[in-house]
């Protein structure tokens, strides 16, 4: 748990400063602990990460503390996915493999369509909706679809579809939990690049809460899906001996050793 919290704190910062990517990835440690050790461990890791990051002498500061609730929920969900064996490698070939790729793509396209059809973007009565959002949604959906389908087909592993679903659902729940916090505490913004989406939604006529929710539903599923795939790749790269030592380890390694 200690190293997971440190990873959360350090890796999120590193990804943004070294790789300069517009994503958070500050929950890799939380999801990893949740998947390996269960919902309670995930909850504690998530909440403790944000609170320690905020208050710990020497490394504290910033404004991440209020999102401890979101991090805790992400940890609980990761624990549930771990318990259900979502992150277990499932080698396959033939029709099953193609079916999994289609399911993965369908999930992404469904999520993209829900965002694309957000009244803030398409209702002409609210006016002022920006055209660039449509292009961004379509572009990200295509890239994500190709990424998930490619991941499943290249690795011959249908677990990719499950990981995509788990990541997207985690992102949706994270957005639902984060929105009231961001709206109440920070006036609906977070100080990151995703505030452009908040601005677009406000321009489209949304109130503080719904603009914040719309931004979260746009960026959190993407962020958590990427995070889930990073965790999955790490888990499948670890030796079964190491993974099996953790409380939910056997739910991850069982199929790989067959």
């Amino acid at each position: 748990m200690v190293v997971a919290i440190a990873i959360n704190i350090v890796l999120g910062y590193t990804v943004q400063t070294v790789l300069k990517l517009p994503i958070y990835l500050d929950s890799i440690g939380t999801i990893l602990v949740g998947v390996l050790a269960g919902p309670i461990a995930g909850l504690v890791t998530g909440a403790a990460s944000n609170l320690i990051w905020q208050y710990a002498p020497g490394i504290g500061g910033g404004t991440i503390g209020p999102f401890a609730i979101t991090a805790a929920v992400i940890g609980v969900m990761a624990g549930i996915w771990g318990y259900l064996g979502v992150y277990r490698s499932r080698p396959a070939s033939g029709p099953r493999l193609w079916l999994a790729a289609i399911v993965g793509v369908a999930v992404i396209l469904f999520l993209a369509s829900r965002i694309y059809n957000n009244p803030a973007y398409v209702d002409p009565n609210v006016g002022g909706y920006p055209g660039w959002v449509f292009g961004a949604i379509v572009g990200i959906a295509i890239v994500a679809s190709l990424g998930v389908a490619g991941f499943i087909l290249v690795r011959h592993d249908i677990a990719g579809a499950w990981v995509a679903v788990a990541g997207a659902l985690t992102g949706i729940v994270a957005a639902l939990v984060s929105a009231p916090i961001a709206a109440y505490v920070f006036g609906g913004v977070t100080g990151s690049g995703t505030d452009l989406i908040v601005a677009a939604l406000r321009q489209g006529g949304q109130d503080v809460y719904h603009a914040s929710l719309g931004q979260g539903l746009f960026s959190d599923p993407i962020d958590k899906t990427i995070t889930s795939f990073v965790v999955f790749i790490v888990l499948t790269s670890l030796s079964p001996r190491v993974v099996a030592r953790f409380p939910l380890g056997e739910r991850i390694v069982s199929d790989r050793e067959e």
């Binding site: 100080g191 006529g205 790269s237």
Partner: protein
């Protein structure tokens, strides 16, 4: 054992100045109360009150200049709050000025400034705690007050391990760059660098878990008896009273605010 400039904390001279000499738990409670009041008491009163207390604490603790980096770190969030809310506040019609398509409003500006004050007050309260309190002292004091040894270990070990993990990330980044990791190119190339960076860090961390577990077990971490706390930090009846008053006062303020009884405040 954490090091400050190569010298272990326990051989450093005791903290000077009235604020720094406060018991670590008192300082933690002050920071938490300030955060709760800044966000819980809406309008101007909550954030302004907390900012005044934070400013006074900062001066008393003589950390004014050290607060600057923490203040600068809030700039992206503060800029976003001010811009988005001043120019795009939903339903506001009291325009300050119209400049082409832009129409900032007084309602949006007031909301933005209040949110900014809350964020700054909150960030500064956390920063003052960090600047005036040694991690080991805070953990030791909380453990003496009954915090479980596992929680104490997680708190203490995390704070100590962060610099080590930062150092490891630096080594991994340099090693991967030497092997061709692209951290400056197109976004797709940078995305491909995620696993080469995260992978070795997590693999190493998971391997460390086993070593740490064995080291802790060898030192009787799971022993059923209560651990003796050697370091007892000074506390006074005045501070105990202050902590009680802070906890009760903050709870009262939050309940009154939620019940709408503070409507007379600006």
């Amino acid at each position: 054992m954490s090091l400050t400039g190569g010298v272990p904390e326990f051989v450093l001279p005791p903290p000077t100045g009235p604020y720094r000499r406060l018991n670590p738990t008192t300082k933690l409670l002050i920071a938490v109360a300030e955060a709760l009041i800044a966000f819980g008491v809406r309008g101007w009163t909550g954030p302004l009150l907390v900012l005044a207390v934070v400013a006074a604490s900062g001066l008393r603790a003589r950390v004014g200049r050290s607060l600057l980096p923490f203040l600068l770190a809030t700039i992206p969030l503060v800029a976003s709050i001010l811009l988005v809310n001043t120019f795009l506040y939903p339903g506001a019609t009291d325009r300050i000025v119209v400049i082409g398509p832009l129409a900032p409003t007084w309602t949006g500006l007031a909301f933005a400034v209040q949110a900014t004050l809350r964020v700054v007050a909150f960030a500064m309260s956390a920063a003052i705690l960090g600047l005036t309190t040694a991690p080991d002292e805070l953990v030791a004091d909380l453990e003496r007050r009954g915090m479980g040894r596992r929680t104490a270990f997680v708190l203490g070990a995390t704070v100590r391990s962060v610099p080590r993990v930062i150092e490891r990330v630096r080594e991994i980044t340099e090693a991967q760059r030497a092997r061709g990791l692209d951290t400056e190119g197109r976004i797709w190339h940078r995305v491909r660098g995620l696993v080469p960076l995260a992978g070795p860090l997590i693999f190493g961390a998971l391997t460390d878990v086993e070593e740490q577990t064995m080291a802790l077990e060898a030192r009787g971490f799971s022993a059923p008896t209560r651990r003796a706390v050697i370091r007892v930090l000074p506390d006074t009846p005045t501070q105990r009273g202050l902590r009680f008053a802070l906890a009760a006062g903050t709870a009262l303020l939050l309940v009154a605010s939620l019940a709408g009884q503070l409507g007379f405040l600006p």
